[in-house]
Every structure is written in C-alpha cells, then in structure tokens.
Symmetry: C2
Subunit: 351 residues, 2 copies
C-alpha cells in the first residue's frame, strides 16, 4: 500500500477526500495549494492529480472541473483512518450515559441506539434486534389462551425471552399439551436455539404419538419464530440533506428500497464473525446502494455475537466519525445489554 503511492501522492489524495467529504464539490488544484498541509504550487498538484487519475484514484466529472475521489480512493482512505478513528472521552461518555437511561426493555434500548446513531452521524442507521439463535434454551412454557391457541414463551439462559402464539389443534387435550411441554423441556433444555430449531424439534416431531401431524405444525411455527428478525431504522430522512439526494427521484428510490426491507438482510447478514465491515459504493450487492457506503459492526451479549448495526450514508460519508461512533456504540450496547440480560447468577456465560 505504502509502496503503491508515495507520501506526497498520499497526502494529496487524503486532502482531496477530506475536502470532498466536506463539500461534495469537485476539488481543484488551487484549492488544495491553499491548504496548510500541502505546500506545493497548483501546477505541481495538477501533475500529481493527473497521475492519480491515471491510477484510478480520482475521477473527473468533466474536463474543466476538479477531481472527485473514486471508490478505490475511499478504500485506501478508509484503510488509513481505521485505527485513527476514536471518539473523545466526552463523546463516548455521552453515548454510554444516554443508552443507560433506557434500560427497561431491550426493544427500547435498540431503538435508542438507532436514534443516537443517526442523530450523531446524520446518516441513516439500522440496528438489528438481538437474535436468540446462539442462546441456550432454559425452558418453554405454554400458556393456554383460548381453547384453540396457546402462547409459547421461550426463556433462554441469556435471560432473553420470546413468545409466539400457537394454534393448538382442537383434538389435543390439556393433558396432552402438558405432556408435550414437559417432553420439550426435558429434551431441549440446555441446547442452542439454532440447534433446537434445526435438528431437535424435527426429531421431536416424530416422537409425539397421537396427533403427530398437528403437533408437528405447532412445533414448526415455534421454530419459524426463532428465525424472525426485526430491525430499527432511523434517520432515513437525513439523506435528503445531502446534495447526492437533491434529486427527488433518487431519494424516492432509496427510501422505497429501505422500506422494502430487503436491504437489512444484505446489509447485516454476513457480519458474523467479522468485527467491522465497510462496504463502499458498488461493493454493496444491492444496486440501489451503489452511491452509498455501509458500515456494519456487530454487538455481543456475554461475548456471543447476537446482532449487528449499520450506518448508511453517501459514499463520501465521514468514515472516520462513523467508524468511531459505531465502535463506541457497539461497545456500549454490548455492555448495556449484557447488564440487562445476564444480571442473574444462573444467566451467565454461554460457553
């Protein structure tokens, strides 16, 4: 990387990206030469810019305009600021404090996270609700609601719960229902929900004697519910503030795509394992995001990754700030959630 571009080119490129992030306008050689950190004449800078254009780091909207950074330039830029990105202690404190005020419901904490994320960055934020796949089943309760339905409450060792309405087939007696419940608790407790869903529930289906089919359907819908994923999206309207979206039809298609909801899967999915991902422009699978960058980070409860969050902004977003905020937010959210969910002695570590 360093051998690819000499120091002077690097400086110029960084300066261009910095400037373009700020102004959204093509950057010219004169503008750059006025900067304190570049002590070169416009002509020299022009030569360097010409080189950078040839190397694919800069683009020219039209002949008589300045240069704008290419995706390649952002890539390089991002890899350089990555370690530099850090919030001041004050800002970090602020985030932590605000998040901790809202500690009654998990959903509220997630909402507040999304709100702060978009509030601070001025971009669009998406925060995933924590999923339970890796949590271990503690027990399942079935609460009869009407004669035709019952509420299944799944309690995990991480303290999180999830409840689904199940259709109870009319032929099933409450005795039978109790038997099924205790069978489930006996056989499934202690296993990860993802395993319960994928292998154990199907196995169990076969064991159920009478009414096997309808019980299977019931267990199936319980299984489906574990997959259910929800997201909080905040700050979509922020995008309208950027000249990139001053064209209403662009804004429209972005918002529509956001509402469609498919974005979330693409954006948040493969974050598993990786701490932080930056996807710039066309690196995003979704063509609707080709002028956007998406930065994703995951958060944890008790060391186990349970969800992720992302910030979506124009490709010329303030990467440094967004990375810094996301890092801090991920830490804060992880600790707040861990505090909420693992408060009891028996709700401890997963591994």
């Amino acid at each position: 990387m360093t051998q690819l571009l000499d120091v002077r080119k690097m400086n110029i490129l960084r300066a261009i990206v910095d400037d373009y992030i700020l102004t959204a306008a093509p950057v010219g050689s004169r503008t750059l030469s006025k900067r304190d950190d570049i002590e070169l004449s416009p002509a020299t800078i022009r030569n360097e810019m010409s080189d950078l254009t040839e190397l694919g780091f800069l683009e020219q909207p039209h002949t008589s305009a300045g240069r704008i950074p290419s995706e390649k330039a952002y890539r390089l830029y991002v890899s350089n600021i990555m370690d530099r990105a850090k919030l001041t202690d004050d800002e970090a404190e602020y985030i932590k404090a605000h998040l901790q005020r809202r500690v009654s419901e998990v959903g509220d904490v997630i909402k507040e996270t999304a709100r702060m994320l978009s509030g601070i960055t001025k971009y669009t934020s998406i925060v995933q609700m924590p999923h339970l796949k890796n949590a271990r089943l503690k027990h399942i309760s079935l609460i009869p609601v009407t004669t035709g339905s019952a509420l299944a409450v799944v309690v995990t060792n991480s303290g999180a719960t999830n409840s689904t309405m199940l259709n109870v087939p009319s032929g099933i007696t409450s005795d039978h229902l109790e038997k099924i419940t205790s069978l489930m608790n006996e056989r499934l407790a202690g296993y990860k929900l993802v395993d319960v869903q994928k292998t154990l529930l199907p196995m169990l289906r076969e064991e159920v004697g009478e009414q096997a089919d309808s019980v299977a359907a019931m267990l199936g819908s319980l299984s489906d519910d574990i997959d259910r994923q929800d997201y909080e999206v905040v700050g979509a309207a922020n995008m309208l503030d950027y000249p990139e979206y001053s064209d209403v039809s662009k804004a429209r298609s972005f918002l529509t795509e956001l509402e469609r909801g498919e974005i979330f899967k693409e954006v948040l999915s493969d974050g598993s394992g990786v701490e932080l991902t930056v996807r710039i422009g066309t690196e995003n699978d979704n063509p609707e995001l080709k002028d956007c960058s998406v930065i994703t980070i995951c958060y944890r409860v008790g060391g186990e990754q349970v969800g992720s969050m992302a910030v979506i902004g124009p490709t010329r977003m303030d990467y440094e700030k967004v990375v810094a905020v996301l890092k801090c937010m991920s830490e804060s959210l992880s600790s707040v959630l861990s505090g909420m969910l693992l408060s009891s002695p028996d709700g401890g570590r997963n591994e």
Copy 2:
C-alpha cells in the same frame, strides 16, 4: 349547503376539484368548458369562477393562472362524495383475500393492512396496533426468567396477549411471587384492563404486605405496559411522487416529522367513537400537516373499538378512493382480527 351554492356553481366547483386532484395544476376556464359535463362557454365559467373565488371556494396562485380549490372547497367536496365512495366488489374481494392470507400473527395482519393501504392509495398509511384497554383480563402468568426478573404474560378474554419483562426485587421469594400472582388473578380477572390499570392495580399495591414498595414498582411497570402503543407506517416515500413535495426541504420536514412519531398520537387519538374523520389542511393540529389531509377510521374486535388507521396525503388527495378503501379495510381488518382473536367459545363478546 345546496342553498349556499346553486347547481351550476356546484358542478363547476366539483369539476375543478376533480381536475385539480388529478393534475395538481391550476384549472382554467377553457379546460373546464371542454369537459362533457359542463356545457358553458369559457366566459360564463369565468364569471362563475369569479363568484366562487369571492365566496372563498377558490384561490388564484397569481393573476394569470387558473384557480385551485381552497380548503373550504375540499370540505364541501368531501361532504358530497362521502356516501358515493364505494369500492367495486372485485376490489373489496381483493382486499379481504389478501388480508386473510396473513393470519398467523396480529402484528403481521396489521403490517399487511398498512402495506395494502398505502399500496392501493399511493399515499402514506398509519395503522395502530390493537390496544387492549377495553379487553377484560382473563389471567396473568408470571414466568421466572432470571432470579432478578420475570415475564408477566397478560391474557385477555379477546384472546390477545401482552407480555412484559418485570424486575423482580431480590428480596421476594418465589412463594411470595406466587401469592401475588394468585392474588392478582383472583381480584382482577374479568375487569377491563383500563380499569385494572387505573384503579385496581393501585388498590392492590396497598394490600401487598411485605416488600410493598418493590412489588408496587413491579405492578406499576405492568400498568405502564398496557398503555404502550405501537404503529405501523408504510409508504412515506410515496409522498415524494407528488409535485407538492418536489421541494426536497418540504419532503424532508414531512419525513422527519413522521419519524418523530408525535403525529400518530394526534392523528389517531380522538377517533374514539367516531367512525370516520376527515381532516383537511389546517384542520390538522400539527402545522407540519397543513398541506396534508388525514382520513382516519377505527376498527373493531367483537364490536369493541380497539384501534384506528389513517391515510395521509396531500390536500388534493383522491378523497373518494381513500374513503372507500378505508371503509373496506376497516371492515376487513375488523372481521379478520375478530376471527383470529375470538375463535374460541369462551373468548366471546366483551359486553
């Protein structure tokens, strides 16, 4: 009303509103005279238009432009189309069919309702989740989750459930917790949740012997949860298709206001009792909605009103269509929900 404006004026006014709803452009006398339903010369129409302007039904953006309807005109227009508004049987069938495909979870039905509402009208839709205030408590279960917390599951006679995580004060034994639960069930079952919340829970607090304060806090948070209201908003991006919002800053402030969430309270609140409400332009309390019209209708479960839904569009929205769709949707949703929630013999009527 009829004596206020003679038939010819009424016809002209209606034609202007119709045309303006379609085109969003000021309507001129020549355009009107070309219509089949108005057989007058432009000059005559001009005279009538002049009168209508004086009477406050029409406005003129500038001297050499046509006329646009005033809020007063929309009011009159709406009161006239109100009974006319009706969907074809096909459309009604379509709505009902689509809604019934999604009958697993109440939340999904509400989402689908919102989606269809904005899909058909091309405006923004808000649908309130059904509230439980008027449902009667059947029983409460407390499921221990960790030593510090329990999940309270509230089951009502309408079959709907609601669950909240409660902090269980550390001093309370599981014996004590059981006692509290059975005390609650004994004393509160059969009452409306709104009464449970407002008068019965506070009374109960005083009766709890030991640990009164912390139990009270627990009951308090249970009570808070009954008030919790959620909404589904769909189609905000639709507004960008209308020339009214081709100004990005207007679109931006509308979307921001929508995200802030206060709108919902204002929009959906006082629908109680009234079947259908039309609020035009400045009739809305929220100044952000002064260029919008909001049509609200409530929906019921088993005859009892449990929520409402609204469509927000520009003041020149297609009132007839929106009213018709809302009426149909309210009926369909009411019947689907009633079917879902009241399916059991003992989950019947509330009154």
